[in-house]
Symmetry: C2
Amino acid sequence: MSFIATPQSMYFAEPLALQSGASLRGYTLAYETYGTLNADKSNAVLICHALNASHHVAGHYADEPGNVGWWDNMIGPGKPVDTNRFFVIGVNNIGSCFGSTGPRDANPDAPSDSRRKQYGADFPVVTVEDWVNAQARLLDELGIHQLAAVMGGSLGGMQTLSWTLQYPERVRHAVVIASAPNLSAENIAFNEVARRAIVTDPEFHDGHFYEHGVVPARGLRIARMIGHITYLSDDVMNSKFGRELREAVTHNSTGYKYSTQDIEFQIESYLRYQGDKFSTYFDANTYLLITRALDYFDPAQQFGGDLSRTMAQAKADFLVVSFTTDWRFSPARSREIVKALLDNRRHVSYAEIDAPHGHDAFLLDDPRYLNLVRAYFDNKVAA
Amino acid sequence: MSFIATPQSMYFAEPLALQSGASLRGYTLAYETYGTLNADKSNAVLICHALNASHHVAGHYADEPGNVGWWDNMIGPGKPVDTNRFFVIGVNNIGSCFGSTGPRDANPDAPSDSRRKQYGADFPVVTVEDWVNAQARLLDELGIHQLAAVMGGSLGGMQTLSWTLQYPERVRHAVVIASAPNLSAENIAFNEVARRAIVTDPEFHDGHFYEHGVVPARGLRIARMIGHITYLSDDVMNSKFGRELREAVTHNSTGYKYSTQDIEFQIESYLRYQGDKFSTYFDANTYLLITRALDYFDPAQQFGGDLSRTMAQAKADFLVVSFTTDWRFSPARSREIVKALLDNRRHVSYAEIDAPHGHDAFLLDDPRYLNLVRAYFDNKVAA
């Protein structure tokens, strides 16, 4: 049984200038903290979330014992990131749909005579850099000048990278897991298909579906199904599902139902279930915003694509972790980061974990992985 | 300039019993032939098509010089499969939408008082085995007892495999390219997402959209975009498109438009174009049927999953070809076929071509690949 977590939120009245040139007039950040900030405020660890996660990183809610944080195996008392030692902060990013200001919230710039009270598709495009700036303001308010560590997987790893470039003096350690210095064309392609599925759903209503009392559930389902395929490896899909039928019929030799629309294989059942579940809680505009933030992230762009010159800005020590069967953010992408750091003689530990689970591995209980992170925090990260 | 091809068709009045237990009352096969059948009818080569191709395999139409067959680089006078020597047959499969009987055709079993005159979603589910049976009848009518070779890539390779198992005495050589003995869970997963995109398009109308005068174009676009991602390798996507923007804006430092819906990257533009084009000509019910035929194909299922026991039925000599960057039907899947053949001491040549183009490579002009097929036909396949 994990500990009790308590969601908090903070309102920021000062506008946030965004990378796009737009700005956000006042915004709220939802966050959680675990453990105790020490007297010199030197033991803070910031956790950055990926596409569909939130500030609820670890523990469970007092009134919802089943609602356990998404990285509860990693963070908590006695866990690899030990909250007996570190003050851990989880924060929901702006544009998301779990408590921080996002497309579902009231748009302060909406004309008073408009039926459109919520942002919807008018929520400004936000980038990884914008998220980091918003997170930095939260740290300012909490009185934390320098983080013992920033840490994240996937898109969370991109925010971690960006922290070391935007605020090099404020990060002692960066833990970048299952991530990449930018998206490949194939990564962007998968995002684009998911976005088109959402945007072309007739119930998307150009991103202003709230006023219509509907949700583009068809599009969200397709988006999530595509996502799930890319989170898993071919190997783990074969071992978990293979060609197993959901319910073989007995009156023919193959056991097939011979139907184009009914569920025939277990993998179909799994994907439909994941898609259905996701479409009931995730916001379609948030999906567009977050996948775009992924697409846009490319810190080396400002240095003509030279990642080594880019990483020269960073002062943190790094732990970089990848997983052999992750084809979404393959080990080769992590090695690009490691090489750029070594080119700058930065301290970097790199581990390529031989795990079968694909991109999902960064959330799972592989003991070699968890022990590695534990050893890094125990031995390298001073509180 | 290639030669002139002439589409033909043949009507079969005798019902075709299908693997599902249903049967098809009379059907038409569209086909083309190139070259001349020799006196003892021993020089016929059958070409099987994959998902979205047709009987128009090579040459161009007299009135449409731009309409060149999909494997024109492989087949024709002086080409690797030389029509000066071989009598080549391309046939469109039943359930498809290019001339053979399919979902767009009149349903002879439709009640006379129904508005639904076309099959639509009532077209029976067809399998690779059914297609091979239909192709065999066409050969009967053409007086061809034994094929010099059957040949196909991807799903066409599955039909080729099936020929050697269903009609072992009728095939001297089998050329199986970029194929697999069955789909993996990941393959099925991609098919399922594409089908869900089509089926949940409100204009699909449960597969009876013809009567409504609409087409589920949104779903077809998504299906095709997903398909295209899986046809290409990550490498070739990066070298062709990378992170290139379609039209960089000049008033900000990143060049991004900062939009969730506009096209930003070249890869997005490419995918949308492919999706749009496909949705104008391909039939949605055909897409469901053909992806299901892919899912169902699993000849080893009848032998408890033992591919070696399965391939013991085959008598043909084999050429098996795979491409290193094909992640849809990876070389490992071709090697399963090769091993099963070797277990049975069959004659098999195997080549793994180091090509960057992914699954698409089987349609492209790689000289090592084309020369390999040429050498096989020149030296092994007697007319």
